[in-house]
Each structure stands twice: as C-alpha cells, then as structure tokens.
C-alpha cells in the first residue's frame, strides 16, 4: 500500500460484496452499482445467493454475494474475479477465496473475525488469510460492527437493528474507496425506505460515518477512480433480466393493442417476472397466481383463447409440469409466451444457480410431433427485446413461443438505455377477412398460421381442442393422411418463421479460423472471451444464437466459413447435439460447464488457446 493518498485511474473494476444472507449484501451491491451507473460507468451485476432464506448465521451455507463489474468499455460480464472483496464475516472470505484477483483488496469486518466467527466458518487457526493461502492481497480491516454501534449509539434503536445497518457502513467505505458521492446513495435510500423514516435516518447516518471513516482513518490508502463510459448518450437505468422480460411483454401488449395476461406459480428464479406484472394493474395487466404450474399455463391458454396476449413464466421443473399444456397450445394453435428462467437441474437441482440445461426440454419435451418456437435472451437488458419478439412471433404466427433466459441474466443487471416503443416493430394479430367464408383451421397462405378470433365475436363461433382436426373443416379427424398433413403443416409453419427473424451475425474477427458458438445467457462472457482472444493474437469469431427454433436462415452459411467450430454452453452439450442433428456436415467441438455458475472469461480463452 502506498504511503501517500493518491487516486488510481482504472478502466474497469470488479467489486464483490459478500456476507450472511441477512447482511443486506444484495441491497448494498445494487446501490453501489446504480451509483456507478449514474456516474457514467457501464455495469454488469451478478447476485449469487443461497437457496435458504436465512441459513445459520456465519456459516458457509448462508453466504450471499453480489458482484458488480463497472468500467468505461463495453462491460459484457460481471467479471471473473474481484479486484475488491467486501467480506462481512470469515465465511464470506472462505467461500470467495477463488473469487479474489491476485493483488486484490479485501475489505473485511474485524469484529466478525473473532474466535467464534472463525470457528463457524470452519477455520482452525486464528489467521484465516494465511490458512487460505492468501498472500498476494491487500488487507483492509475495520471494526465495522463496533463502528456501526458507535455511529448509532444515541439512536435509540435496539442492538439487532443497529447491527443490521453495518452494510451501510461497508457501502460508505466502498463509496470512499471508489470516489462515489454519497449524496446520490442517500437519494436511493430515501426512495427505498420512504415509508420507514427511522430506518432511513439510521442508514444514512451509518453511510456517512462509513465514508468519513475511510477518508479520515485510511487517508494513506489509494482510492480508485473508474473512467466514464463512452456509450451512446441517452437516458439509462439499470435493469435485471426478469424485470426487462416483464417490460418486454408490457410493451408488446401495448404495441399490439392487446390486454396482457400472466398465469404464474412462484418458482425461483423466475418469480420476479410475476411480481413486476402483478404491480402493473395500472396498465390493465391481469395476473393470476395460480394453484400450480399447470394452472399457470392453462389459465394463460384460456386467456389466449379469449383474445389476450397471454404468458406464463417458470423455471425448469415448472416447464416440465407445463409440457402437456404446451402441447395443447401447439395443437390448438394459440399464441402463448412461455418464459423459462433456467436454473441448475435436474429435479429441484440448484434453484438459485444458473444453467442452460433446459434447451432440449424446450425443443422436444412434449409428446407427439410438437414443434414450437424457441428463442433465448443473451443479456439482462436484451430480455426486453426478446420478450417483445417472443410476443410478436407468438401473436403474428399463432404459436407458443418458449423464451429461455437463465438465473444469471434474470437476476443480474446491466445498463439499459430506455427504449422508445415507436422504434419497435408493429405487432399485428392475424384476423379473418370480414365477409369471407371462414373455418377455425383456415390458414394464411404464406405464413401458414390460422387466424385468431376470440369468443365474443359474432359469427365466428368455433371449437378448438387437443384432438387432431380436419385440415379443411376443423372438425375432429382420426384420418391418418389428414394427421400427416396437419403434422407437416404445423412444422412448416414454425420453419417459415425463419423468414421473419434476423440473420445470424458474427462478432469478433470474421476472418478467424475458429468460430465460437454460443446461445442465450452466455453472450457477455463469450464476447469478452472473443475480445480477449483477438487481443492476444489468437483470432476468433463468435456466432451467438438468440433464435434457436427455427435457426436463422444463414446458419449453415456462417458455420461453413470456419475451420473450427467450438460450441460453448452451460450444460453437457445440448445445443451442440441440436446443431449436429440439424447440420450434420460440420464437425463441432464443445466446451461445457455445469457448476451452477456462469462461464469465466479466462476458462473460454484458456480452452480455445489450448486447441
């Protein structure tokens, strides 16, 4: 550490806040990220929390983390390792030992690093840093608990409430360390605790004291300044993938002139979509918290039949429960958006951790020949765009659409430039032409969709159902040839959608021999990996897929341009097996990870350079 105070200029930095699940680390991290975004940094965040709401205090199982990557350049990921770790207790240190960059700073609460704290975290010596083999790190210890108590000694609060405010002391220290003005943090707190003036006052006092403690006591330590981003000028917010997806549906409903309906059952990590939409009664959004996952989708199918833009949201186990009903929507040919926020599986699996292992379930997890559209969002903010597109495709092509996101992009946040609805494509439900003869399964001659007529419309009474229907009359049919014809046209309808989606674009050095292929929520990590590879002279390009069923029209052409194709995904090879089945002429290498965590950029870089 330097002797004189100085400000170090950084292009980017990764900060990880870590503590007990009751320590308020998610709030602290969110406030710090938003502060940074306001100062003009790009941000990418990643909350990493346990499935237990409150595991025993001080234990490894209860550690909750929030990582933020901020900087000037395009910040694609929350970062592999942290430059600064804020550890509220020894367990947080132990859990994150691999998450600290060599030379990084560990800011920790000395009060919790006592005998009892060390024991709870399973340390056997009184020097946890040495015990963990942490040598090349800078330690910045402060008695956060005592200082918080001191800060609030005349507040009249009980001890428990006082101790709970120590996350604000840590935030104050972090603000000092990174030269973030605390006035803006106060503004955020005022919004958050507007209904609890006492708590607000206490939090602000501790925050300010934390900041001052840093500037007074640690005057000799260097602080950091992170350069501003040079992204497009405009109005920004930070948004999580779940919130963005909910907003995408709201925007699509408004654009289409349809009422929005969500049938939903709570499931981690997808529930925030329901929370966002349930709060939007002002926009007429109808949300039913149904009795189970099946009812979630079945109420949505009913609402779609009744003419609403209908959606259901879930995670892997819920998608499994919805399978039969998805088949009904395929057969009845009704528009429906199904958002699957993937988590670690199978079964209950790793509910709060991320994975991409529902792809084959989304593509094929139904009885019978049951084609539908599968698309995947890539980043927290583009969950908005892909939820919008999911709704557009569902409504215009009269089909269920599965939108895959994952725990990482659903709970992580990124900077989002506020969109203008007029910049988004129109959404026009196909209706039968007035006065012309009509049958329920009559089709658009080009797009092959049936037309959508809701009950309440005079003259168009019809019966839909899960039984096979006659191609012409729409009545029940068990005729074998008719069935073949219907199976074929349902598939052709989905294939046709390739004409209405964007072509695949290649990122990075398109003259490279190596093409990295990815899909969905790994977008940021793969982009950063490609940037890094090109930076170190190992030429690489990236084809990142958002449209999976159907594939973009130019997929074959893109794949044919590269000597080496490496499919990277957070599963044991689901997309690669899909590509092998669709385009078997290519040789695919694969890089897979199933640890409940996103890729780390260096893992990709190391793998590609080892080839």
């Amino acid at each position: 550490m330097s002797e004189t105070a100085k400000v170090i200029e950084l292009d980017q930095v990764v900060v990880r806040f870590s503590g007990d699940s009751g320590d308020g680390m998610q709030l602290t991290g969110t406030l710090f990220s938003n502060l940074s975004a306001i100062l003009g940094n790009e941000i990418s965040t990643f909350p990493d929390y346990p499935a237990e709401i409150r595991a025993p205090q001080g234990t490894l199982g209860g550690v909750s983390g929030f990582q933020v990557h901020l900087g000037a350049q395009k910040i694609n990921t929350p970062g592999d390792q942290a430059d600064v770790l804020v550890a509220m207790n020894p367990a947080a240190l132990k859990v994150n030992v691999e998450a600290i960059k060599p030379g990084g700073v560990i800011l920790y609460d000395e009060n919790t690093f006592d005998d009892s704290g060390l024991k709870k975290a399973g340390f056997v010596t009184d020097n946890p840093f040495e015990e963990l083999g942490l040598k090349n790190v800078q330690l910045l210890g402060a008695p956060l608990t005592d200082l918080t108590k001191l800060s609030l000694e005349s507040s009249g609060f009980d001890n428990k409430t006082i101790v709970r405010s120590k996350n604000m002391f840590a935030l104050g220290l972090a603000c000092w360390l990174f030269n973030r003005p605390i006035e803006q943090a106060q503004h955020f707190l005022e919004t958050k605790f507007s209904k609890k003036p006492d708590i607000l006052r206490a939090n602000i006092k501790v925050l300010i004291d934390g900041f001052h403690y840093g500037s007074n006591t640690h005057a000799s330590i260097s602080t950091y300044h992170v350069a501003k981003s040079d992204i497009d000028k405009g109005r920004y917010t930070s948004i999580s993938g779940n919130k963005a997806a909910a907003f995408g549906l709201i925007a699509a409903a408004e654009k289409a002139g349809l009422q929005l309906f969500l049938g939903s059952y709570p499931i981690t990590p997808a529930t925030d979509i329901m929370h966002e939409l349930a709060a939007r009664k002002d926009l007429g959004v109808r949300v039913i918290q149904s009795e189970d996952e099946i009812a979630g989708i079945c109420t949505a199918i009913g609402a779609s039949f009744a003419g609403n833009l209908a959606a259901t949201n879930t995670s892997g186990p819920g998608l499994a429960l919805k399978s039969e009903a998805i088949g009904l929507a395929v057969m009845a040919e009704l528009p429906l958006v199904i958002i699957d926020v993937q988590r670690g599986g199978p079964s209950t699996g790793l509910p709060t951790k991320t994975e991409q292992a529902d792809l084959l379930q989304a593509l094929y997890g139904r009885n019978g020949e049951s084609p539908l559209v599968v698309i995947a969002a890539g980043t927290p903010d583009d969950c908005f765009d892909f939820a919008y597109m999911a709704a557009k495709i569902a409504v215009e092509h009269i089909t269920p659409v599965i939108l895959l996101t994952d725990g990482f992009i659903a709970n992580g946040t990124s900077l989002w430039k506020l969109p203008k609805l007029k910049d988004y494509p129109s959404i026009t439900p196909p209706r039968p032409k007035e006065g012309e003869p009509w049958k329920a399964y009559m089709r658009d001659p080009v797009k092959l969709n049936r037309y959508w007529v809701a009950p309440g419309t005079k003259g168009y009474m019809h019966r839909l159902g899960g039984l096979e229907k006659d191609f012409d009359s729409g009545a029940i049919s068990t005729d074998g040839h008719n069935h073949q014809r219907m199976v074929n046209i349902r598939k052709a309808k989905i294939d046709k959608i390739a004409d209405y989606i964007p072509e695949l674009e290649v990122y990075g050095d398109s003259s490279a021999d190596t093409l990295i292929v990815g899909w969905g929520g790994t977008c940021g990590h793969l982009r950063s990996a490609v940037d890094k590879l090109n930076e170190i002279g190992s030429k690489a390009a990236l084809a990142h897929f958002n449209y999976i069923m159907p594939l973009p029209r130019n997929t074959r052409e893109v794949l044919s341009r590269y000597k080496k194709i490496v499919v990277c995904e957070l599963n044991n090879g689901q997309f690669v097996s899909y590509l092998r089945s669709q385009m078997s002429e290519f040789t695919y290498l694969q890089f897979n990870k199933v640890q409940g965590q996103p890729f780390e950029v260096h893992e990709i870089v190391d793998y590609i350079t080892s080839l």
């Binding site: 009795e291 609403n308 009903a325």
Partner: protein
C-alpha cells in the same frame, strides 16, 4: 342480457353426436341446450370449456365458442377465459374423473376463488372413455377392470368437496330429469360465482343402472326430494313426507302423524352463508333419507372476476402510469 330470444336449435352444432346409445349425456346435452336458450345469452358470447372424458366431448356439439382442452385442466382454462374477458358466459363440462381426480386441484381452487363459471359435473361414478375403471366417486366395493375384487377406496361426495372449498352454489339433478336439469342449470348460470351442478348420470356400458334407485320414475318421488328455496322440504308421491330437525340432525317425518303439519317442516334457505344445513341436505342418502335434488346452496358474495376488474379500475384511477412510456419515466434513470 340480450333481448333476443333463442331456441335450443341455436346452440346445436353441425357435428354428429357420438356417445354410446342410451348414454346419459344425450339427456344432459338437451338440458343444456334448453337452459342456454332460456338464459338468452348469444351463442357468440358463450364459451364452453371441457377437459377429457366422455362428457368433455360435449364442447363439439355446441354452436358456441368452445375449447376441448386436456385432462383435468378445464377449470384452469375456464378461469383464464373468464379473467381475460369477464363479459363472456363461461361453462365447464366435466366428468367425475376429469373434475375430481386429475383435475381436483383446479376444481377446488376455481370454487375457492368464486370465479363466475358454471361447472356441470357429469357423475357416472366410472371412467367410461378408458373403458371402465373406478373413479373417485365410485361406491366402495364396486367391481371394475381396475378393481376386480371391489374398490377399497372411499368415494368423494362432490358437495362436500365444493363446500370444503367454500363453494357458493351447488345443485344436484339426474340425467333423465331434463326439466329439473334445465332449471338448475339456468339458476347456476344466473348465480354470480362458481356454480357446481352435479348431474347423476348413467353409463350404459360400464356402470349401467348406477343411479337406478333414483332414476326410475316409479320411485323418484319417494327417494329424492326436490329442494326449492323458500319452500318447505316435502317429498313423496303426495308430498306427504317432509324433513324436520331432530337435535342437530335431520329426520324424515310424515304429515299427519304425531300431529305434524306442514308448518313443522323445514323451509329451504339456499342463500345462507353458513353451509351446515346445505351439507346435511347434500349428504342425505337412502334408504333412510331422500337424496336431495335441486339447488341446495346459492349464496351470493363477491366474485373473483368482479374484484379483479374493480381492483384494476381503482389502481388505474390513482396511478400516474397510463402507458409504457409513463412506466419507463417512473424508473430511477439518469442521463449519460
């Protein structure tokens, strides 16, 4: 309601009705046509939702909007239809397997929410379409293909399930009595909230005569009692018998015996919130008691769909967010 008048014909689709000859569903279908015509709601404003089973095929025979969905899920689909467009009149046709086995969860929750749909439960106490297995309402001991030595399962009594889920409307009828069936279906449709109409139905192939004690005209007056709100609970060929309270229990009495006159007989009140008496009436069985027919419970309280619309209106009246652009403006955002 429309001022136009309708006939049963207006609700008949062009599809050939394909149930087994002699099936109770034919009579039920005719009662439905009759009730819908009397109700006077235009076929285009009517949505008929069904699940899977013999009775669920009924959707295809209705010239209304219809959706023949998947096994057990009709109540959930119907809930979505009604919540999406409360102006529609929504009917659900279902059987004892569809409604009470695979669909039991959706059934109780629809009833609990009191969403304004009309559930007609065709109860033939057997699985017909899968060729004869015992159902959740099959009487203990029934020999079927899946219970060759007699079922050892205790059956549901649909009324108890409906009341347990805080149901607001429950009626019972029998397939062959098309007059009562049409009458109670009409009252079910007029009831605001979830209405459950249990129709005792014969399965001529797999459970023939299951309700014969009640269906034959000869005995019907003796073995059933047709309950009407506000009227004394009398039954018998000459209305010579009635129901009275004996402590906490019901008892059957004969007018003129032991000085009992009509004014001693209980008067049916279907509208009370307390369902204790309704339950007592609904679970009466022979040979000691008549089986209750007609509207047993018709209690009015707020419906899910009305409250949903009201809540939206209240929030909209107060909120500054009128469209998507307003929503974006409400976010914490900053210029870069």
């Amino acid at each position: 309601m429309s001022s136009q008048t309708y006939t049963a014909q207006d609700f008949k689709s062009d599809q050939y009705v394909r149930w087994c000859p002699g099936c109770g569903d034919f009579a039920i279908l005719n009662s439905i046509y009759k009730a819908m015509a009397e109700l006077g709601v235009d076929p285009s404003q009517t949505a008929v939702i069904s699940g899977i089973g013999c009775s669920s095929r009924l959707t295809y025979y209705m010239n209304t909007y219809g959706f023949h969905t998947i096994h057990g899920r009709a109540a959930a689909v119907a809930t979505g239809v009604k919540a999406a467009n409360p102006a529609l009149t929504v009917w659900q046709f279902t059987g004892d397997g569809d409604c009470l086995a695979i669909g039991g969860n959706h059934f109780i929750h629809a009833v609990r929410r009191n969403i304004d749909i009309n559930i007609v439960l065709h109860n033939n106490e057997i699985y017909g379409l899968t060729k004869g297995q015992y159902s959740p309402t099959s009487q203990k001991g029934l020999v079927t293909k899946s219970s060759p030595f007699g079922t050892i399962e205790r059956p549901f009594r649909p009324a108890e399930l409906a009341f347990g889920a805080r149901g607001t409307f429950f009626a019972r009828t029998i397939d062959v009595d098309t007059k009562t069936s049409a009458d109670v279906m009409l009252l079910a449709a007029k009831h605001k909230g979830t209405s459950v109409v249990e129709v005792l139905q014969n399965c001529v192939i797999f459970n023939d005569g299951v309700h014969k004690e009640l269906s034959s005209k000869e005995f019907r007056a003796e073995r059933t009692i047709l309950l009407k709100h506000g009227e004394p609970m009398l039954f018998g060929k000459e209305n010579e018998k009635g129901l009275m309270l004996d402590g906490f229990n019901l008892k059957v009495v004969t007018l003129g015996e032991n000085g009992i006159t009509e004014k001693d007989i209980l008067v049916h009140d279907a509208t009370t919130e307390d369902s204790t008496m309704h339950l007592k009436l609904a679970i009466m069985t022979g040979p000691d008691f008549p089986v209750a027919m007609g509207v047993i419970r018709d209690f009015t309280t707020a419906t899910y769909n009305d409250e949903l619309v009201e809540q939206i209106e209240q929030v909209q009246a107060k909120s500054k967010i009128k469209n998507f652009a307003d929503l974006l403006n409400s976010l914490d955002s900053w210029e870069i």
